[in-house]
């Protein structure tokens, strides 16, 4: 009688079998103790979605000339940050640049994109995440040393950008595996 799927023996056996087969084909990612990293597509997709939502909100508030819902006193002062000269880069509102970052990042973060064997997808995702973290440096510096105020919405976006960056740069091997497999198959 086969063990039920919920049976721990089943799970253990299944994992062991998978590990052995992966080892057979020489894919170290499937060695004992290593699990496939499905969390990266999920994490980056969710982070991109949330970041996109915040960017949309900040963009709308920017063009409405309305202060975001946030403290406006003390060191935490969203309005001070979002209306500062540093809130524009090359004349473009940073909120709009956030849209321009998270929208393509969302597309590149979908599980389908992580599985894609297209040669451009993984490098594009990596490049975008590096550009994003570069902007985070600039904006954090501006907040701390030029504007002297911190915007919680912006900080949220910075954290999301950092999360995406971590997932992407540490997942480069996974991201390029489909392409490599396709090449090897050919």
């Amino acid at each position: 009688m086969w063990p039920r799927r919920t049976d721990t023996r089943y799970a253990t056996a299944r994992t062991a079998a998978a590990t052995a087969r992966r080892r057979d084909r020489g894919d170290d990612e499937w060695e004992v103790g290593r699990q496939p990293t499905a969390w990266r597509p999920i994490l980056t997709t969710v982070a991109s979605l949330v970041g996109l939502g915040i960017s949309i909100y900040l963009t709308v508030e920017h063009f409405r000339g309305v202060a975001p819902i946030c403290s406006t006193t003390g060191i935490v002062d969203c309005l001070k940050v979002t209306t500062s000269p540093e809130s524009r880069v090359f004349g473009i509102p940073v909120a709009v640049l956030g849209l321009a970052y998270f929208l393509p990042m969302l597309v590149l973060s979908l599980p389908l994109a992580w599985r894609s064997a297209n040669v451009l997808v993984a490098p594009a995702r990596l490049a975008l995440s590096v550009v994003g973290i570069g902007f985070v440096f600039y904006l954090v510096y501006s907040e701390l040393f030029t504007i002297h105020a911190i915007c919680l919405w912006c900080t949220g976006v910075h954290v999301l950008t950092f999360i995406i960056f971590v997932a992407v740069v540490t997942g480069w091997e996974q991201a390029t595996t489909p392409r490599r497999e396709a090449l090897e198959a050919v």
């Binding site: 299944r14 052995a20 992966r22 000339g65 001070k80 000269p85 809130s87 480069w172 595996t177």
Partner: protein, 385 residues
Amino acid sequence: MATQKKRPRRSSSSSAGANARRPGGQGAPGGAQRGEAGQGARPSSGGGPRRLGGQVPAASRPAPRSGAQRRNARRRRTNSNVIGWVSVAVVLAVVAVLVVVKLTGSSGGGSSAGTGGDPSGRNPVAASPAIVNLVTTVPAAVYDSVGTASQPNPFTVTKGQSALTSGGKVRFVYYGGEFCPYCALMRWSLVAALSRFGTFHGLKETASAGTDGDIPTFSFHGSTYTSKYLVFSPYEASDRNQTAFEPVPTSVDNLYEKYDGSLTSATPAPPFNPGPSPGIPFLDIGNKYVSSGDPVELGYIYYDTATSTNGPLFGGGPGRLAIARAIHDPSSAVGKAISANLFIAQANYITAAICAADGGQPASVCSTPGVTAAAKVIAASKAVS
């Protein structure tokens, strides 16, 4: 598909032990086994064939790798991981350094002065063209709709005084200090009002002293003003640290002592300044309209003495661009939050006083409803000599 999925799961459990015990896998064809493993061990991600979107048929999967290939793959993956995590560590380190420098550095202090790294404000940076443009192009409809905003006349009307002119034009003297919060507030209205008569060049941006509200504002230091109707003479006697800054001519000091009060004591100059004390900003429009110290209608924006609470611009408020936007459109949310209509009302009073001093020129400005409303209030004030 469902049957295909189901079958490997069952077979995987049957062969699992064998395969697990035989790492070599008995040379099992990679394609079939990977299909099993992928769907059995990782149904959520779909395994190998699904990851490739069906581009690579199972039968064409690569054969098991040699030991060298495996070592290369492991080395490649290790290098990639190391680079990735080192990058993350570098990012964290940079952010940590920024935060630590901010927390331990002496340049902090929460100043929003924008004085180009010069806390004294002696070398202010050029004002943002966008900010200047917003304040100097307030629509006439805004001035007209605000009028006096029910605020009192800020000027003392004089009579029997010698006209203060320069080159045949009315001379407008501003005497202030960069540390002074009321001067900081007044400059917004001054720039707005004077831009209706002429043009500023080289306006700078600064803020009142960090201990005096840190209110973002313009600086007249190094700026020029040209007008067909008047000569504007601004003097900032002290910098943000309250140390002597721009030299003030004796003639201007004399004007201050005559219409405002003593430069060395707290004695006011009645009846022009009935008291209780002299103060800046001091405004003198042709010796016909003078103003001393904190303008009551603007003072609340800095500090509300009625409630003993900080005003909306204390500590920098929403920032200089937002302030400029609010002055350009006082009906906006930020405009209402910072009472930007008071800046407009003050500008209308200044405009009306200039109009009264220069013979009502230009008519396109002096005859507008907002200015005439302010002129009526000024005209109703008792002149003193």
